[in-house]
Symmetry: C2
Amino acid sequence: MSRWQPNAKGRLEQAALNLYQERGYEQTTVTEIAERAGLTERTFFRYFADKREVLFGGQENLLKTAVSAIETAPDTATPIEIIIAALEAVVPMFQERQEIARQRQSVIAANPGLQEREMLKLATLVSAMTNALRRRAVTDPEASLVANTGAIVFKTAYARWVGEPDAPDLSILIRASFDQLKRIISG
Amino acid sequence: MSRWQPNAKGRLEQAALNLYQERGYEQTTVTEIAERAGLTERTFFRYFADKREVLFGGQENLLKTAVSAIETAPDTATPIEIIIAALEAVVPMFQERQEIARQRQSVIAANPGLQEREMLKLATLVSAMTNALRRRAVTDPEASLVANTGAIVFKTAYARWVGEPDAPDLSILIRASFDQLKRIISG
DNA sequence: AAGCATGATGTCAGTTGCTGACATGACCAA
DNA sequence: TTGGTCATGTCAGCAACTGACATCATGCTT
């Protein structure tokens, strides 16, 4: 029999999400989270840089997937097409977890500090995609404009996907947002 | 002779900006800022909600100006034209203070926590502009897409304006960014 | 002129987020 | 068996932030 229960990080994430929902983010102390996970505060901070970070675990995977999609897009694709491909590459990571995504989102929506963190994560993603585009010889400021455009499209689609009870497929919403943006800007 | 030195808030802002530049944001304590301004830590927190907020004073003015520009745009303007007008309405608030803008930006660039706050401010602005557009009968998600597009355009222009030694006029850069975005998306 | 309300600031004590230093003890490899 | 490793615990401490109450110049009221 091993000394420690397995999956400490996952237990902390679960405990945090539950407590944030039950009492609200600010009313929850890190000590409480750790206790519910059967650990100590100090251990929480070994797994997560701060109290917010516990809600943003999947970020590195997301980033890798998006960057890798940009790197492997066909040479014939335009920058915008490359970005849309990156967004669609990332869709499956959400598709399965719609319920958890909704829980997370309602917690984040209730706290500005968490919204800050979410936007920093998004900005990190945009920055990584911008760099990936530059490596494909897309020049500045086009690379940055394209990456940011991708972020808007995704944000818009994601908001609908999380917000509507019987939302269409995420990749369909992405297409729809992009088409609408095209019409708005050219029109 | 009055009991207190005038302009406590301004003194705190100045002291904070200087100290963040001299020692870095994290190495500066709120007590140090207050001392340099001839006040106490407690008074700092009466003027600013937290240690970051001291760098984001002009925000409310900015927001009011942008929203008011949206409200007073001519009825013939398209949503995109309205947003561009809002961006240009805001230009004069930066134009005079390019040097301070550069100082602020270098401090913010050195600290992720400050970047978080800046993006929250930008998101607040986008949200206010979205609502202002809705009041002009622009429907969702178009209102949100347009406001976000404005934010990208401004961010791109602002980055160049702050980053290049002899940058062109900010409103020229806004036009340039918007034109380029149009080409990218339609192309 | 005396008294009184106001408002900006100070003082103090307390909670919580977060960190560094060191201790513990099951597991594993030599 | 021994000794190292690694996840966790323990403890002490700093800095951000808050609530409660004190101070006292200013200016209004009577």
